[in-house]
């Protein structure tokens, strides 16, 4: 079990009297794409935010690469290898695309930030390496043509890919994508699917929260289904598609 990049054990989250997640357990292996689906209000976003550390879980354990992180702050979890995107585009509007992705990679730099003020050698070499890696990420996410444009001027679809690029720059072990297809049209969704597969092929695990079933069924190796904060099913896309409980709660008969 320890070979899993993300391991969630008996995770619970309550808001006042409302139990948003109850006893949720699942794991994600390196290079695996895991889907997290369920009807509105089933606890998907709460799960993402609890994993990312936006708020603390009420109880339960979150392991990243074998280390418990449930008590760590949001930013410390990024250093532990968990990066995320947001449901609605959240970027640095005044930066260029490249500047934002570079800052996304700042967490991977070991030199003290003060070294960058005086351009000390060690820091400069590290930053050069990051610059090369950022170029690869821009190519991978299709943002290279707009790399020098101000974030506020690129399209909303590009803004969504920019969130992925920024998260990737942190060199995560696992990438949390919170509804990455929201607002994308069909050819952009195709690009998104290809990007997710390319990320997987680089060995990074991905956890995708998504309503778009065709995308989920295409890219996921396994899927966890939530309903009313509890896991009602887990399995491969074909298993999930034929699961009675999932059909009743979420998919409906026609799928």
């Amino acid at each position: 079990m320890t070979d899993r990049v993300l391991e969630v054990n008996d995770l619970c989250k309550s808001f006042g009297g409302v139990q948003a997640i109850r006893d949720l357990s699942f794991g994600v292996a390196p290079g695996e794409v895991m889907g997290l689906i369920g009807p509105n209000g089933s606890g998907k976003s709460t799960t993402v935010n609890a994993l990312a550390g936006v708020f603390p879980a009420t109880s339960g354990q979150i392991m990243l690469g074998g280390a418990p992180v449930q008590d760590m702050s949001e930013h410390a979890r990024v250093a532990m290898g968990l990066a995320r995107t947001f449901q609605t585009a959240s970027n640095f509007a005044e930066f260029t695309v490249r500047e934002q992705v570079m800052l996304g990679g700042a967490v991977t730099l070991k030199a003290h930030p003060l070294a960058s003020v005086f351009g000390l050698g060690h820091h400069a070499r590290e930053e050069d390496a990051l610059r090369a890696r950022v170029q690869d990420i821009l190519d991978l996410t299709g943002l290279a043509p707009v790399a020098e444009q101000t974030v506020g001027t690129i399209s909303s679809a590009q803004q969504r890919f920019l969130m992925i690029a920024t998260a990737l720059a942190a060199a995560p072990k696992i990438l949390l994508l919170d509804e990455p297809a929201a607002g994308l049209v069909s050819h952009e969704r195709k690009m998104l699917a290809d990007t997710i597969k390319a990320i997987r092929d680089l060995g990074t695990a991905v956890l995708v929260i998504e309503h778009h079933m065709a995308l989920i069924m295409e890219v996921c190796d396994r899927i966890v289904v939530l309903n009313f904060g509890s896991k009602i099913a887990e399995g491969t896309p074909s298993e999930i598609r034929n699961d009675r409980a999932v059909i009743d709660a979420y998919l409906g008969e026609a799928v």
Binding site: H75, F92, F95
Partner: protein
């Protein structure tokens, strides 16, 4: 092309400052220029926290007061040389800023502004009432000048002090430029734009905010120390809220989040009230009105307006 234009601009500005004492015929204006240079340093600090990080702090003059009193008191009580107490003053100020910044940076926006405003009030009240130490409202006079009173470095000479403060202002402006261009500066600008995202990409935003706040305070502490040894007299009056607002206005009027903005803004806030003397008792009202109008019609300050004009001129030249 664009890079060369700004380099020429910096060089021209520097040359202007070097020549300024030779061009000024009225002694009083040289005095104001020294004060303005002191304010350049304070405003550069204010710009780090307000302009780049997006946190409006209302305690810059209070921190100047801490710098001014600590250099003075260390000189009096420990008989330390002036150049040393000037260097120590920003460090003392930094300690106060660390203690003040750690709790106050937990709140955002207007709340942060109000907390820092309260700090300025506390500093002011302590300076007023700790009379054993500060001599209260009467203030401390006879603060010594750095250097020797004979020969080359006679700092009692206004012109010498002008160049002394100019060198320090240039160094501190250069340091601010280095900070802003570094990864730290990028992070500060990122906090201004989207603090939530800064946390989500793995950066502990509070460390950077605290850095900006403490750095701003150190700039203020240094400016306050230079002020004390220039005027040879300090009292709490000059480190009150009104002066903190001047620091904020210097940043806004000059150009928030730009390197030249605080330089221009500092000269405006020092010289403008003097040029409004003709209005007599309506002077302060007129001053206030001008500032309000400037904030409304020049949201990006003088640097922003000049930048736009420059773009228009070069744009026309190109087409």
């Amino acid at each position: 092309m664009k890079l060369r234009a700004t380099h020429v601009l910096y060089a021209a500005a520097l040359l202007g400052f070097v020549l300024l004492p030779q061009l000024i015929t009225v002694k009083y204006y040289l005095h104001l220029s020294v004060l303005a240079l002191v304010w350049v340093i304070a405003a550069q600090g204010q710009n780090l926290i307000q302009g780049y990080t997006g946190y409006v702090s209302i305690v810059q003059a209070g921190f100047m007061g801490i710098g001014a009193y600590s250099t003075t008191l260390m000189g009096i009580h420990f008989a330390l040389p002036v150049w040393l107490t000037i260097l120590l003053a920003p460090c003392v100020t930094a300690l106060f800023a660390l203690a003040a910044g750690y709790p106050s940076l937990r709140v955002k926006g207007h709340y942060f502004a109000i907390v820092t405003l309260a700090f300025n009030l506390v500093i002011f009240i302590v300076l007023m009432h700790a009379t054993d130490l500060t001599q209260g409202e009467a203030g401390i006079s006879g603060i010594p000048k750095p250097g020797r009173e004979d020969g080359w470095f006679d700092f009692a000479n206004r012109q010498v002090y002008y160049y002394f403060v100019l060198v320090i202002a240039v160094i501190m402006t250069g340091l601010a430029a280095l900070i802003v261009r570094s990864r730290i500066g990028q992070t500060l600008i990122a906090i201004r734009q989207n603090e939530t995202l800064v946390g989500a990409i793995g950066i502990a935003a509070w460390k950077y905010k605290l850095f900006a706040f403490v750095a701003a305070a150190m700039y203020a502490g240094l400016a306050g120390a230079l002020y004390a040894h220039y005027q040879s007299f300090i009292n709490p009056e000059i480190f009150g809220l009104a002066q903190s607002l001047d620091a904020i206005l210097a940043v806004i009027i000059g150009g928030s989040g730009t390197i030249l903005g605080p330089v221009i803004g500092a000269f405006v806030v020092v010289f403008l009230p003097e040029y409004l003397r003709f209005a007599d008792s309506f002077r302060l009202i007129l001053y206030g009105l001008l500032l309000v109008l400037a904030t409304i019609f020049m949201p990006r300050g003088i640097v922003g307006v000049v930048g736009q004009l420059w773009a228009r001129i070069t744009g026309k030249a190109a087409s």
